[in-house]
Symmetry: C2
Subunit: 200 residues, 2 copies
């Protein structure tokens, strides 16, 4: 965009780096912001600053939080002997929306991806081991994604934690509720068959 001011071009380039936002979309966002009152862009700038200044990661589970520990780790009514291991904060939030899980979490902040240069040293693994031993954790639920990288990470974790006495479990794979079998991929159907349970 040779005819637009540098400030516009710079913000477009920065926003286009965000996942799911291409250059065209980024330009659309910037021009939208320019069409709004100045206070909107100021609020956004302020909010990005606030994000850096006020957001910390829980010293125990690495969830985003305000202080040293997150609300879930501080919550006395959560079961403290089970830890659900997830890749990202969003995954934790997805489990929280179920209202079905009452244990604690551990956010890895990533998944093993050798091609992208993400090895075990980039994930929050030592603190998981520390928590298991310190808090006498009984069960660790491996809730990484069910794609190749997530599966590989779950396998790696299983080996990594093999020396502990903790029970390791993996979330179930199968046909999602409401899924039309016709559109389910063969690998998922195979898993659904393998994991079948006896009824009644």
């Amino acid at each position: 965009m040779p005819v637009v001011p540098t400030a516009v071009e710079k913000l477009v380039t920065q926003l286009a780096r965000l996942p799911g936002i291409g250059e065209r979309m980024a330009a659309r966002l910037v021009f939208h912001i320019l069409s709004e009152p100045e206070t909107y862009a100021r609020q956004l700038a302020r909010s990005f600053e606030d994000l850096i200044e006020h957001v910390r990661f829980c010293s125990d589970c690495h969830m985003v939080c305000d202080g040293e520990f997150c609300g879930i780790c501080r919550n006395g009514s959560r079961e403290r002997d089970v830890i659900c291991v997830v890749e990202r904060v969003q995954d934790l939030l997805a489990f929280e929306r179920t209202n079905a899980y009452r244990g604690l979490y551990h956010v890895l902040h990533g998944v093993l991806a050798p091609i992208k240069g993400v090895g075990p040293d980039k994930l929050h693994l030592p603190s998981l081991l520390t928590r298991i031993e310190r808090d006498e954790v009984q069960e660790v639920i491996l809730a990484t994604s069910t794609d190749v990288e997530g599966e590989a990470t779950a396998l790696y974790l299983a080996r990594y934690l093999a020396s502990t006495s903790v029970t390791l479990s993996r979330i179930a794979t199968g046909v999602p509720l409401g899924g039309e079998l016709e559109y389910i991929d063969p690998n998922t159907l195979t898993r659904a068959l393998d994991g079948r349970t006896v009824m009644g």
Copy 2:
């Protein structure tokens, strides 16, 4: 999201107000930014500030620019007796990408939309009239969108400028290049028929 820090929630809410970004997408963006080095969020904050501080609108055509006039209006090699009227800055950029247009522009910064409370007073109309008379403009190309609001705006402009001696034209409507006729809507096909040109 009751378990996330206020700073996260606030930025998610603000980003979700942007066009094409829902709450889920906004959350994804914020967590991505949190996973990047702090400098990234700082750069974004700085860029939003820069946007307000450094971006102006051209006093003539209302295009975004650094100074009082934009690069196109300042460019001595552009034809100064033809003005292409567009709704938004992005539309101007689309015409610039053609490398086919050598005249000037006029950005309305909106389109007539009575339902949304956008009347003629919200568009840059008086300055268009001023330019036509001051610069002895010969032709005004009405290049608002070809949707209902854009068409209505073009009709309004035609009436608004009827008292001037300027030649008014409207961009052609018809089948886009590479368009498969099977998938073209009936209204467009009707226009393509009405606007047919004799060959050879």
